[in-house]
Point group: D2
Chain length 265, copies 4
């Protein structure tokens, strides 16, 4: 007999997507197409991707679609899209984040909305999961800017330290899961080098999104069920297929009486 | 008989200086030495100079010295220090400025102070003086961020358009003069290519600073007196001589009963 | 009665295209698709577009397609794609070009081919057409690197100065025309702001390409025939339609006994 | 009784220094002052430091001082001066190096000299010492550009792998030592975090330079003598004291019948 891991009164979930990653003449992502189907936008801040024109347009679109604006700051590495580990001193890192978040905040102010959350990008996200001093730098930057900002952290066992640090700095922490990524028994994302780490079958991704949102758990890469308390699912808008999948995820969640709405902690 | 151009009850003047222009390992300017002698800091925002670590340190020092923090945004041209004309589309320019000012605002917030003013840097300043659409882009960016921000504009006949635009956008405008630069009969800065455009004799610079602050006028390059209503004098902190000159200017102003304090409009 | 402007024994023409404009994760252009149909590649050098990985791949593909490799250096303005006027000091500009051309030369060396030509990109191209000191800086940079490099200059009356300067520096100059751009009576490209400046009807573009290559002349925007001696036609590979057009141009030229091959001066 | 570790007929040594590290308006180092006293210049290539104008000037000065020109390529991290570890894919890294070395080669060509050597900069140097795949990427880049280029590698036990890889790619390898750095018993540089890792007493640095050059050995941090076969000593030109020390090192070497000249392998 299979039982749900959790049983809440009203089930809600947020769908977040990395947006505003174009730069100058370079277009990336299908922001306009995916926006109507998500509830939170993680907006690049000009260091690993994005530029002021793109940031302005993305905030404007997010407001038009009544979705949450969040900052998605990254390493100073446009050439590597912020996906490469960089050994940045944590005190310097903190200031890199204040800079990027502050810049995005200004665009939110211009469009009469409030910056809601911060999610570190790419390699910085991974380091904040692994390394306590990095997690501190990120949390400290966020809390110094605005203690009401929500800190998006990896859900599950693996993200526990990152989340704890966020709470120690007085931040609300939203747990995030990745329905298209395999999880290890320890609750961390299986490394991309492992076969099956990225799940490409749309039906499976949709089923996993539902399992996480409805049941608060996920089958790990060895087939065992692990608990996964989650406020937001990370989805993608890179291509037409990705956009279709987000649309499908949203409708399946709805059919299962799960309210898709911006996270409120 | 020589008469003063103006006669105010209490004479006050602000001394502003471009600061925070170091970048990474590269040091520029003697910020710590000049800070005690000025009243307003124009802080580079990371595009033509400055970086988040420098911005943080500069705001922190400004607060410690109880001087005004202002943003000094520029073109995206670190290699040219923002001194080269760039034909940036004005709509894009506006967003470049929102980005830079917003980033600095975050550091001001972190250090519990308020961003007071904005002064465009280098080639952007010159273009805002010359070109109405550029002046509009600058004023619009500032006013969209915060209508209480003071817009620093060139004093005199030449700066009239820039100032008018600022006021049309509801901004308070502070007029700025350059005691070490020669003025043409039309009240614009004599181009650097002309002999005598930059005044290097310390005594003359000090005398001109006093003339501007006390009398509200200046002798133009042909020796005629022109009116120059001014709220702030631009001084430099690039080298020990420059710092000494600022110190001297301040003491001479004081001896002449002119209060040196941050502009309040 | 219509007569040809020129009548050569064997008619030949080169087809050049701007390539290698991707950057990091950002893809631009359909390089692989257009390469088989052109004879000269103008390869971005990492300042306005391109990066070392892209440069390497593009040179490798050019060699595989047995087409000419050329450098396409631009202003230091990735954010503006080198399309914005920048007031770069000409002595500095010369060194910017030596740097970029030298970097591309290294990739040519690695792939056992020789850099054949240099064509300034975007706003730098326009400035070299308009401004003699800029044209000198460009020609001097090229000639200091290798006097056998071909300097690609605008064909027609308007490009005369640029070409003359190239020759004064001992360079071979290849004249370039744009079949999809309208020409003024003076033989310059009609500004994009004018209606009809960019020709979008594929049949018209193809007809103009043929007129230029076969007859050495073109109908200007007022309908008058002007002479246009040309070694190379600039074509585009930005999208599937553009690639199709290049393919069509090439076959129409062939049907008219015009040999499409890399320029040899 | 103390005996020399080695005994050669004519003792020679090269003195190398990192130069050309200014950028735009930002000045770094006292290149003009140190040049007359060294024999090899490691010239920054615009990624972690340096720009085309600086590169041109530095090559020109090196030629005027008849010293060797070498490339000093680094990570794409101007903000961190190439001193931060960056997890760059090795295939990409190879192309980053080809780009930078090629650019510098062009300036050497313009000034009628030949690029002599390549020494990776900062964090890249450390990674090439530690990590075989990185050492391969560096050596492959150099050998693809010119097999006559000398690869500068860390002397001693610790640098053995880096040197072996260079030789496997057919390169001549020059061993480098640091007279102002303490060595561990294993022959690697003592980490800067350890007390005494950087030797600041001028007399001691000079004595160590002599010991290395004359005796082919050095006292490690525990006081034991270790062998150190060396072709070049790394010296500094950051400040007046550093320049004085280089001058002193050179004269002491001369007094001890050691010829200071560019390495020839």
């Amino acid at each position: 007999m299979v039982t749900n891991c959790v049983d809440m009164k009203e089930k809600t979930i947020d769908l977040n997507c990395d947006l505003g990653e174009s730069f100058g003449i370079y277009q990336l992502g299908m922001d306009d197409d995916v926006m109507p189907h998500i509830t939170s936008a993680n907006i690049a801040c000009g260091w690993h991707a994005g530029d002021p024109v793109v940031m302005n347009k993305t905030v404007q679109s997010a407001v038009a679609n009544t979705i949450n604006c969040g900052a998605h700051p990254g390493y100073p590495d446009l050439l590597g899209f912020g996906r490469r580990a960089m050994n940045v001193n944590n005190e310097e890192l903190k200031h890199y984040l204040i800079y990027q978040i502050g810049a995005l905040q200004a665009f939110c102010h211009v469009h009469d909305t409030k910056l809601c959350h911060v999610k570190p990008h790419g390699s910085l996200y991974h380091k904040a999961v692994e390394n306590e001093a990095t997690a501190v730098a990120v949390a400290e930057a966020i809390s110094q800017i605005d203690k009401d900002l929500i800190y998006v952290a990896l859900a599950g066992e693996k993200g526990r330290m990152m989340a704890r640090i966020g709470k120690e700095f007085g931040l609300n922490v939203a747990f995030e899961a990745f329905p298209d990524r395999a999880y290890t028994a320890e609750g961390s994302l299986a490394p991309r080098s492992i076969k099956g780490a990225v799940i490409t079958d749309p039906d499976e991704v949709i089923a996993r999104a539902l399992q996480i949102a409805r049941d608060g758990c996920i089958d790990d890469i060895e087939g065992n069920r692990i608990e996964l308390t989650v406020h937001t699912l990370c989805v993608h808008g890179d291509n037409p297929h990705a956009v279709q999948m987000v649309k499908k995820i949203r409708s399946v969640l709805k059919e299962n009486d799960i309210t898709v709405r911006p996270f409120q902690l």
